[in-house]
Amino acid sequence: MAAPRLPPPDPQFVLRGAQSAVHALHFCEGAQGQGRPLLLSGSLRGLVHIWSLQTRRVVATLDGHGGQCVTWLQTLPQGPQLLSQGRDLKLCVWDLAEGRNAVVDSVLLESVGFCRASVLAGGLQRWMLAVPGRGGDEVQILEMPSKTSVCSLKPEAQARLGMPMCLQLWQADTSPRPLLLAGYEDGSVALWDVSSRKVCSRVACHTEPVMGLDFDSQEARGVSGSAEKALAVWSLDEQQALQVRGTHVLTNPGIADVKIRPDRRILATAGWDHRVRVFHWRTMKPLAVLAFHSATVHCVAFAADGLLATGSGDQRISVWSLYPRT
């Protein structure tokens, strides 16, 4: 209490021109050989904007989802390929190399939910994709680019988990078996072993649907946010069992997205209360409340160099440089 606190920070810059609410953000690391990464944003009206962080202007606009909301964006490491998921039940694969912007492939989705897909790409030509599947409670695993369905993960009937709300595919350094973390409608987070199609462990950390989660595979610790007023931090032990390590109560309910910075030092949450909250990842100490947006914040994204972008219903994308890496 002794020293006066620093006044809340201001954004480094603000990107305007998405012309509708921003629902997905993704940093594309220097694919074009430019100094600064590109920022991709997906809007409510189905457009994907590619922003240059150098000129802070739109470089290209992709229209492939027929005016339906773009909910998820991801680039693949092996080439300038972009995945975009839209509410038109399509997941498009774009080729962005050499200025092209054409849909080269697309996957038809069978779920109308809000669940975002997840990708596991080990630098090979083949990569794995997890998307919400048929029947409301399944997760479908596809092998790409061949689009072969590997399996679908369906929880046991009596579990009553509800729809999957968020997914994260990952692979431990020690084992080649791909794992999937999925947040469900009933507020629980489950760890799936993809190869054996079984739930390794499940933990109920929220009472409301899990809206977003992120996992730190090095420390085997993850964080999830839900529609309720709390963030949950959970960890994974050697027996692949999930355990709640603590919850952090927030001022207002509703977390739309959670991301840990790639250097695992801070994390940011996108709040329905228009605010972005920044926490210290190891101690969960609150560090900042960014009250810049005037509508629900839908998504947050970190660049490899630590830049934070937040997209909101007020059609703006704000870019922040907090606790820069030294």
């Binding site: 960890s235 032990d237 390590r245 603590g246 101690t283 409340v289």
Partner: protein, 853 residues
């Protein structure tokens, strides 16, 4: 030649005396000296003089064939000083050059440096004071005195006095010596003026004196070990006198650290030290003890140096248990802790602090009585009240529970009385003092009872006081043990929270790379409030309904939040319902735990008043004296009136958006914070903007008529009407003096804000009458209000009118102000009175150039 005449006189008188009681052998000494004097005064032969002087040195007993002891003693006692005076008389450039290479001077000086030190010193001082200034002789003598000091002869002077106690005492001689030893810097300074030597500056001389005292003490200790009797009373007197002269720091700054070390292992040293302090004459006891308390690093050392002095010496007891605690308040906290710790360390002394029996006066009980007396609270300066409070806390920290239990009832009674009168006070610092002492003291005196708990803001003072209440560790080296322990205990819980409930606790904590994240300083997160629903009414009338009839608390809250903005957006709609709205807001109670309820309500009320000043102010002022209001509501009325007046009188108000969170007057609880972002933004603009024309970078001050002009009367006069008519529930001149104080402040503020208005003149007149009626009020807060009101009158009423119409009132006020500035116990009152007097002076200065041409 004068010296020879002097010698002749000595010859006749002293000789006769000697003849009466000395044997013939002794008169041989006299003969030798007479001869030497004769040779010295007549001869010009350097060699012969040298031989004569050399031969006399055998009386000092340090040459190869010393004189007999009796002869030595006779020489020292009877002839030495006279001979020295004669030598002083011989001093001249020619005489010194009788022998080459300064041999003569060396020999001459050796008489002063080797002979009996006390007489040499006296002769030196005497001849320095007697010598014509500036002269060769004076210069030589001064140099000799400096040398005398530098070779440590001062110790010999004092040592001589210590030894002499065994033989016949010479009180007069001792007295003279004492005066000269201690007064040396003053005398030399007077004599030499600008030619004074650095050795004789008090800041250099007194540390030297301290060193010398220490050397003498060493000698005393050695001779006591050798079985010889010695007295330190001369040293005590020197010490006492030096301290009385205000040189405690210099002397004791040298003495105490050394004595601390020396007394550590040795009982003898301790005894000598106790003796040294005990023998200090009564007139110097206070100065010496204060110096000791100041210089001692802690109670342990003090106890070692002073022993049980307070129980043996009445004067010392008075100084330590009364004067330093009750009559003065100049001790610093370490001093106070040393003092009370010293009293608590020994069972005999402890009884002074606290004892069951009714006979001895007890420090703690008296402290609490003083603290509890309501008249003391009113008439004693705040600084002293703090001092007494701290002393109580320290006392309590030292005393055990059993000791406190014995006279618990008495202690509690005086404590509670003090707490009660403090909590009644209208000055926040006094109230807070009461709370802290009440919390700590009740917990100690009555540990099994329910703990008292007050709400007060923590600041440096409270932390200091609470720290004082912690019992000190008994170990001798608390400074080493304390912090390291605190460090360890402070760190453990941190770790625990990090690693809570995890089976593998290790890896995260030990990750050194991640540990550096702790330097992530959090930003201000005060914006992180609960979001309000969007049910806010969009019209003023809607707000009114929501605030009165609604059972929907979310809507009620939203209305409260929205109200101020709505009022400013639609003044016309507000004016239709202004009085009704003011009534609702005034009676509004905090029904849900809305953050910042008071601020919201106040801002809304201010907004209403500003939008429709006359009727609302009329309503509010009548309500101020109405029945059935709480003090809080009445004070709210005053605050709102002040803030609204401030807003109305702000120049250029119409041009700009209404200022949110305007600065609060006086001691406003929960006031709005001055926005820090504004400073940040302005700084940023300044940095990023290049200005082509330097110079008047700031905006021109906004100008416009004072809007307060038209309505000032509505705000001001009704408040003055009924203050002397008590109601059943509200008695301004009685118990509700807090409100009276606030009223006085408000009136002053309104007066100040009415600057440049037509009504300022009658307002000033009325206000001065109000002040006059209350000028001897007992409460400091009320007096402060009155004083600031006088200043406001002086600032706001035009000079000509002041002098034309208010001259008598001003003259009366002036004599009162002068009185307050000199005598008021409250520091702020004195300050305010001085400020008002300065304003009056300025007024006079303005008048003088008018009348002079």
């Amino acid at each position: 030649m004068l010296p020879v005449d002097g010698f002749g006189f000595w010859e006749g008188r002293e000789l006769g005396k000697v003849n009466h009681r000395m044997d013939p052998e002794v008169s041989a000494v006299r003969l030798t000296i007479l001869e030497a004097v004769h040779i010295l005064s007549s001869s010009e032969d350097g060699g012969r003089i040298f031989c004569t002087l050399e031969s006399l040195k055998r009386y000092f007993g340090e040459t190869e064939n010393p004189a007999l002891p009796e002869e030595q003693e006779e020489f020292a006692r009877i002839h030495f000083s006279t001979f020295l005076r004669f030598l002083v008389g011989k001093l001249s450039p020619d005489w010194l050059e009788l022998l080459p290479d300064g041999q003569m001077e060396e020999l001459w000086a050796s008489f002063f440096l080797e002979g009996p030190a006390d007489q040499a010193f006296l002769v030196l001082m005497e001849s320095i004071e007697g010598a014509a200034s500036p002269s060769f002789r004076l210069m030589k003598m001064v140099q000799l005195l400096a040398r005398f000091l530098s070779v440590g002869r001062m110790a010999a002077v004092m040592e001589g006095q210590c030894r002499q106690q065994a033989g016949p005492a010479f009180p007069l001689l001792q007295e003279t010596l004492l005066t000269k030893v201690v007064g040396l810097p003053d005398r030399l300074g007077n004599r030499l003026q600008r030619e004074n030597l650095a050795t004789f500056f008090p800041q250099n001389y007194f540390p030297l004196l301290g060193e010398e005292v220490l050397r003498v003490l060493q000698v005393v200790v050695d001779s006591l070990r050798g079985g010889l009797d010695c007295s330190v009373s001369f040293l005590s007197q020197v010490l006492g006198k030096a301290c009385v002269h205000g040189r405690q720091k210099e002397v004791l700054g040298v003495l105490v650290p050394r004595l601390t070390v020396l007394t550590q292992g040795s009982c003898l040293w301790q005894r000598v030290c106790w003796c040294l302090v005990e023998r200090v004459p009564n007139w110097a006891m206070e100065a010496v003890l204060k110096g000791f308390v100041e210089a001692a690093p802690g109670p342990e050392v003090l106890s070692r140096l002073l022993g049980n002095l307070v129980t043996k010496n009445k004067k010392a007891q008075f100084v330590m248990t009364r004067k330093l605690l009750f009559l003065q308040y100049s001790c610093t906290m370490p001093m106070l802790q040393s003092l009370l710790g010293y009293l608590a360390m020994d069972s005999q002394r402890r009884s002074l602090l606290m004892q069951a029996g009714p006979t001895t006066h007890q420090v703690l009980k008296e402290l609490l009585e003083t603290w509890g007396s309501s008249s003391a609270i009113r008439h004693v300066p705040l600084v002293q009240q703090r001092y007494v409070s701290k002393a109580i806390l320290i006392c309590l920290a030292h005393l055990g529970e059993a000791e406190l239990q014995d006279s618990r009832d008495e202690l509690l009674a005086s404590l509670m009385e003090g707490v009660k009168s403090r909590l009644d006070s209208s000055l926040p610092p006094v109230r807070r003092l009461g709370m802290i002492v009440a919390e700590v003291a009740s917990a100690r005196i009555h540990p099994e009872g329910p703990p008292l708990k007050f709400q007060y803001e923590e600041d440096e003072l409270t932390r200091e006081m609470l720290a004082l209440a912690m019992p000190r560790p008994a170990a001798d080296g608390p400074s080493e043990a304390g912090p390291s322990f605190a460090l360890v205990s402070g760190e453990t819980p941190d770790r625990e929270t990090v690693d809570c409930s995890g089976p593998q606790a290790g890896p995260e904590g030990s990750d050194s790379e991640l540990d550096s994240d702790d330097e992530f300083v959090p930003y201000d997160m005060s914006v992180d409030r609960e979001r309000r629903s969007s049910k806010a009414p969009s019209y003023v009338r809607g707000c009114l309904e929501a605030l009165t009839g609604s059972e929907d608390w979310e809507r009620w809250e939203a209305a409260l939040w929205a109200l101020e903005g709505l009022i400013f957006r639609s003044p016309a709609a507000t004016q239709e319902v202004s009085v009704e709205l003011a009534k609702v807001l005034l009676h509004l109670e905090e029904k849900t735990a809305v953050a910042g309820f008071d601020g919201l309500r106040q801002r809304a009320l201010v907004a209403v008043t500003v939008t429709d000043p006359a009727p609302v102010a009329e309503y509010l002022t009548t309500q101020f004296y109405a029945l059935n209001y709480s003090l809080r509501q009445r004070m709210d009325i005053l605050d709102v009136l002040t803030l609204a007046a401030q807003e109305l009188s702000r120049p250029g108000r119409l041009g700009k958006a209404p200022q949110r969170g305007s600065p609060d007057p006086g001691s406003q609880p929960g006031g709005a914070v001055v926005p820090a972002w504004r400073a940040v933004v302005e700084e940023r603009i300044k940095r990023k903007t290049r200005r082509f024309s330097k110079g008047s970078a700031g905006q021109a001050p906004a100008v416009g008529p004072n809007e307060f002009n038209l309505v000032a009367g509505y705000f001001f006069f009704p408040l003055l009407q009924h203050f002397d008519r008590p109601l059943v529930t509200f008695d301004l001149l009685g118990d509700d003096q807090l409100v009276l104080g606030r009223l006085a402040h408000t009136l002053g503020a309104l007066m100040y804000l009415a600057v440049n208005t037509m009504v300022a003149m009658p307002m000033g007149k009325a206000l001065l009458e109000f002040v006059w009626a209350l000028r001897f009020h007992g409460d400091a807060y009320v007096r402060r209000g009155l004083l600031s009101a006088v200043s406001a009158v002086l600032l706001s009423v035009p000079t000509e009118q002041l002098l034309a119409d208010l001259l008598d009132e001003l003259l009366e006020a002036r004599s009162w102000l002068g009185d307050v500035a000199e005598k008021d116990p409250d520091e702020d009152c004195r300050l305010l009175a001085v400020k008002a007097l300065l304003l009056l002076e300025k007024l006079r200065d303005k008048l003088l150039p008018l009348s002079s041409p």
